[in-house]
Symmetry: C2
């Protein structure tokens, strides 16, 4: 097995340099990497073709194959992503707050990089440059452990970033790809408590579960999105139809797509049959509780498991509730802390829902699909946190930092 | 074994109520608990006496016995602590920032409680009220797992808090003590991924190691403080003597006491013999590298292990370094990310040290002993984080919160 401990040590050493690297150098490296990605597109695509051939021979399905594929357009997108990150403001050095203590000590709390950020990810080789770019800009070393299926692609993309760092007098080890893709190396990364300041898993439920079970380093979980849309008694039903259709069908495979519709009984008779017709027409399968089923025969029966499921597909669960309290309870019970929406014209209902629903994002009168780094104005994101520790919701450059207290004295001692 | 899962479920339910409880109610409960602690002091001290008797019979040493002991003065201190927390501003509801997106969506990022905060702690029964008080004020439910040695004391103190909650129409389950102190319950708390949003271990290295190894819930580590004082070439040596003596001897058993002295070679011949004499006179044992030993015969030999050790006692390691770079390298190599101080009159050295040393607090020209919640103006603290994720350094009310995005729309869908 690769000496992952040694890779951690090298990443840590590089992170010390990167932590105080001037913004200009980091940006120059990002722009150089963007150029190199395009210059080397033939080589990268050849490596990717080899990955695709192996995956196809191993029987990979068309969905995963598509995520593995690097077209010229996707390489251009990755390059554009790096340029976009270069154009974002550098979060490092921001003074968060400060004070003078009664004894004259002057405190400032200053934003600094986390240090070494590890990413364990699956299949998609674009994560290699997206994640490394965000880490680089925020002054962090990136320790990347991709999947075996994308290894040849990842090696080429990581080489682009390392060469761009070297060309700009920054340590190549600020981006390290763990090229041994055995399970043991992933487990080793999860245990690098001396070297990894934050581990972000990017992948399916099995990966997230494995990280939750095995990681001893600090983790930010990018978890499921069992997102609800609650149609309140006072909702504008035309707007509700547009929003539910958008939240469910605009891109059903992503974590901020709606997976469950909750309807107040006062509008259920009017809305449930109507939305069932529209969604069915768009190819959506509906399952629901007894009250929903009674209102629209196209709705099949739903179990508690269905209400807890992230379908990631053209399927949605439907519940009819007697009041706002029941709606909030339902959402808090089955939600995964990602994004929850209320559609209402009632101010009091909107205020209660936003206060009492426990999720990274609570949205009033708009689609759940808006919860991401770009839509929230973060510029780019490394993931969407569904835990509460450290960061919640879309994680951009700011969420890849921590702070330190810098204290200025003139000989103070404690009495 | 106690059904810890059920305790977690109850804590989660209580946390939903506490999350939106008005500040006035939370403060009233805190003040009521302070009063009750004093009213019931006889009962609490009787329980504590029973704990002390058992512990003494089991051969507990004088140090741990002292930490276990609840005197009237200590109960008064605990009550004063609860009153102090009641007087602090409520962090919940603060708007951190906000923006209007190009599509008209209005975003605000609002401070909210973490939810359920679990504390696993050792011996000291005062942690029961200190931790519960901070959790209550910040809107979190507290799930407390103390040690078997303090069980009878903890039961009484937890009852005070639960009764004070009930008396103020808040759910008693906002403070739950796990009364089964078998190892299995601690392990179960570490695995309550559905119910615990943050686990903070308060105790020695063995507890911290166990939490790091076994926890699957998000953790904030309150770890070792191997704190350094670096005496630079341009340091005022009179001030340096005062600061080193204070940092080492004012309270050697705490995590922000200095454990290592690093001296620039330009002042080593003047400072090392001088500080060795003063510290030896105060009963401090010194170990050091060869250059330090050569300057003061009282300094014994130090291994790398000594440089990495948190003595928590009247002992200190001494290293002589050729320059600032070597000092920073030494501190970053052996430090634990707690508190590091530089004593210097050289602005450039101070700026480099504060930028390049990787620690929760970097202090210029003052004692390391200042890193705590009270000294930093947080009012009170639940611990001092030595990790970078979520919070760094002293953790007060603010550090017991997270945020949610609240998004106001008027029918927006994603295109």
């Amino acid at each position: 097995m690769t000496d992952v401990e040694d890779l951690g040590r090298r990443a840590r050493a590089a992170s010390r340099v990167l932590a105080t690297a001037p913004t200009g150098l980091k940006d120059a490296a990002l722009l150089a990497a963007a150029d190199l990605l395009l210059e080397r597109s033939d080589r990268i695509r050849a490596a990717n073709d080899a990955d695709l051939d192996t995956a196809r021979a191993d029987g990979m399905g068309e969905g995963p194959l598509d995520r593995l594929r690097l077209t010229d357009a996707r390489l251009a997108g990755m390059a554009a992503g790096l340029r976009q990150v270069a154009a974002l403001p550098d979060p490092v050095g921001e003074v968060l707050d400060g004070s003078v203590r009664p004894n004259g000590l002057q405190l400032t709390r200053v934003r600094v990089p986390l240090g070494v950020v590890a990413i364990i990810y699956e299949n998609r080789p674009n994560v290699t440059s997206d994640a490394a770019g965000l880490c680089l800009k925020s002054g962090n070393a990136a320790l990347l452990r991709g999947s075996s299926t994308a290894l040849r692609s990842n090696v080429e993309v990581a080489a682009v970033l390392r060469d761009a760092l070297t060309a700009n007098d920054l340590p190549a080890d600020a981006v390290i790809l763990v090229e041994d893709t055995s399970y043991e190396t992933a487990a080793a990364v999860m245990g690098l408590t001396d070297y990894v300041d934050c581990l972000i898993p990017r992948g399916g439920p099995a990966l997230v579960r494995s990280v939750r079970e095995n990681a001893r380093v600090p983790v930010v979980i990018d978890g499921d999105g069992n997102c609800h849309v609650y149609v309140d008694a006072s909702a504008d039903l035309d707007a509700a139809e547009r929003i539910v259709v958008n939240a469910k069908t605009q891109r059903p495979s992503v974590c901020n797509a709606a997976e469950s519709l909750v309807v107040h009984e006062a509008v259920a008779a009017a809305f449930v049959p109507r939305i069932t017709g529209v969604l069915s027409g768009l190819g959506v399968t509906l399952v629901g509780d007894e009250r929903a089923q009674a209102l629209a025969p196209a709705i099949g029966p739903a179990t508690d498991e269905d209400f807890g499921r992230e379908f990631l597909d053209l399927e949605i669960s439907v519940a009819v509730v007697p009041d706002l309290d029941a709606a909030i309870d339902h959402v808090n019970r089955f939600g995964t802390g990602h994004t929850e929406a209320i559609l209402t014209s009632d101010l009091a209902a909107a205020r209660r829902f936003t206060r009492e629903v426990d999720a990274a994002a609570v949205i009033v009168n708009a689609s759940t699909r808006f919860t991401d780094g770009e839509m929230f104005g973060l510029g780019a994101e490394i993931g969407i946190s569904t835990q509460k520790l450290h960061a919640r919701g879309p994680m951009g450059l700011r969420e890849l930092t921590t702070y330190k207290y810098v204290v200025w004295g003139e000989g103070q001692v404690r009495t």
